[in-house]
Symmetry: C2
């Protein structure tokens, strides 16, 4: 272990409520608009990553969820090159072994790479102690910079051409709005979609509506969303979140050729939430969809039982009830959906359309684990399992 340095970090997933879509600079990873997200608790979902540096390593190696991956990819290497140039002679001639695991199914199609890169960021921030490290981890995944803090986090697009003012800052810590919980509805879908990297490139090139949205609509949305969060105004938060998600997917459809990340089940979820809110006369849940069919619902803790009951009624589990809901709730917590509401909501249940539900909350940012027993790499620099 003498010539080897290593650290293990845990980093969260973040889910945007004002979406990032499109770069104005592909090399510096500078966005065409500011964005804002909630950081999800690492208790339910996180990436745990061990990074080791040693002169004895022959080459960079990368393991994700137990499987060795190609470590020569452009994004990872850009990121590591940046790290090398920062660390200087101290790590000259060294190579990296990086081992990362998610504690949630990657099949969920959730932004797992952002969490992985945020680990890398946390590790070097721990060493460097500056927010400049955001620039480095954005080389890996743009939105990863928003996973560097807990609570609600905004990524200011900035104006400078060198990107030095394009940084993520915390809007409110996780203690500000502890009632804010999250339900992730994982939609059954095997199709391989368009990656967000290539999708946003095509959108920037072809969608006139994206340009208009980024320049003329998002600045106002950002201000309104920050105010809603600071005032803990759920009604405003919910409406902006849903409208922003709708508009992001509208822009994807306006892309040429068009990109449809939401599928029929996604749209049924939208209908359920819309009808349920209308029945209640106020927002009880709001949806947002990233570059895939899964729905993420931001819901206040007091309303979670009602929403879970509605979701389980219209998207019933067909097998493995015990594992259908994971996290803060269990399937045994789910109450029967009231007949009187069912009669006003014109939807037919679609059994088997979700593979599961993850119940979590807005939580804290990444952290370094100092206990070496928690390392994912053994004494030989290879994954422990």
């Amino acid at each position: 272990m003498a010539d080897r340095k290593q650290a293990t970090c845990i980093a969260p997933v973040n889910i945007a409520v004002v979406k990032y879509w499109g770069k104005r600079d592909e090399n510096l990873i500078l966005p065409i608009n500011s964005s804002l997200s909630g950081t999800l608790s690492t208790d339910q979902m996180c990436a745990k990553t061990t990074i080791a540096i040693s002169k004895s390593f022959q080459r960079d190696r990368l393991w994700i969820n137990g499987k060795e991956q190609d470590a020569t990819g452009k994004r990872l290497q850009n990121c590591l090159r940046e790290v090398r140039s920062r660390c200087g002679s101290e790590i000259e001639g060294c190579h990296y072994h990086i081992c990362s695991v998610n504690n949630f199914p990657t099949a969920a199609g959730l932004a797992s790479s952002a969490a992985g890169y945020a680990c890398l960021g946390e590790y070097f921030e721990y060493k460097e102690g500056i927010t400049k490290i955001q620039f480095t981890i954005r080389q890996g995944s743009g939105s990863a910079c928003r996973s560097m803090y807990g609570g609600f986090v905004k990524w200011e697009m900035g104006n400078k051409s060198d990107g030095s003012d394009s940084i993520a800052v915390q809007v409110t810590p996780e203690s500000h709005w502890p009632e804010m919980e999250v339900l992730i509805l994982v939609v059954s879908d095997k199709k391989k979609g368009v990656s967000s990297t290539s999708g946003m490139q095509t959108s920037v090139k072809t969608s006139k509506l994206l340009k208009y949205r980024a320049e003329s609509l998002v600045p106002k949305l950002m201000t309104e969303m920050e105010t809603a969060i600071q005032q803990k105004n759920y009604q405003a938060f919910a409406e902006i979140t849903m409208k922003d998600s709708n508009q992001f997917h509208a822009v994807c459809l306006d892309t040429y050729p068009p990109i449809a990340y939401m599928n029929d089940i996604s749209h049924k979820i939208v209908q359920l939430i819309t009808h349920f809110n209308q029945y209640c006369g106020e927002y009880k849940a709001c949806y947002t969809f990233d570059a895939g069919p899964n729905a993420v619902l931001y819901v206040l803790a007091k309303d979670v039982p009602q929403i879970l009951s509605a979701v389980c009624h219209y998207f019933p589990c067909t097998e493995n009830h015990d594992s259908y809901i994971q996290g803060l709730s269990n399937y045994s917590d789910v109450k029967e959906f009231p007949k009187e509401i069912e009669n006003t909501i014109c939807l037919d249940p679609i059994p088997g359309s979700l593979t599961g539900i993850i119940h979590t909350r807005v939580g804290s940012g990444p952290r370094v684990i100092l206990d070496d027993n928690e390392s994912l790499l053994g004494g030989d620099g290879l994954p422990k399992c």
Copy 2:
């Protein structure tokens, strides 16, 4: 028959390639942007309507496809009131019997009411001989005014507040581009969607992207589309058609609550056409979707066999082969899809996802049938069957 006047008309369906979505005046039916459509041949699809006026009729009555309908609806009555005020004392104390049939399944969700109202328009134009009648029939269905002519037709939005310059004019007659054929892919879908009337009202109220599209993007699209049609430039025509359809559906998603007219099968059709065109290195087909999941493909006659072969390969018929394709082609005309193209198109066939295909072409406008034997109403003023 002495105190009775009647006429029978046949009117076509039109399918927009630059979409109409949103009114700037709900009473005068004035659109927020100009639109442009192809008129489809009445040989394959049309509405046939007989209108009779008599003092002996006790009340207005309406039959559509053999079933009596409510004749007190606002749209029809607005339309008839307008007619009464134009015709004056001649028809005082009279009531209408109107009988209309479509020669295509209304289940196809195609714009059948436009054709019906165009019949009404043709009948009174026949009597009045002026294009002012467009104002009247727009009271029934806005886009019906584009069914008043054959070939390609534009509806100029106009600027005057009384709507007097908001009129449909022919861009080119059907003889200009006789090679232009049309395949309608009827998608199996039982869900009741949002009507286009209420959908566009909500879009106008809530979608910021719609406003931008109508004001800043459509004027240029209209000019480009007219040029493409006048020059018979299929490559330009195809690209504008697809981009405009994408943008219309993007605006529907940006509506709040969002409207998704296209479903998973619609998006698979988009993928097939996109991949097939990419394989060919030029546009061989272009898609457009109205307020429903059905695809309408504009295809040059020379390319129809290839496109039919592709559609039948990826959306194969599971029953009633003989009736799967109607109109200008038969199922026996369909050639096997070449293996070498299949290998480059990454799509799985989805059997049973279409209920059928209608093969037609751009055709002529409405016409009055003078032969009384063709009337849908008998001597008693009631439907013959």
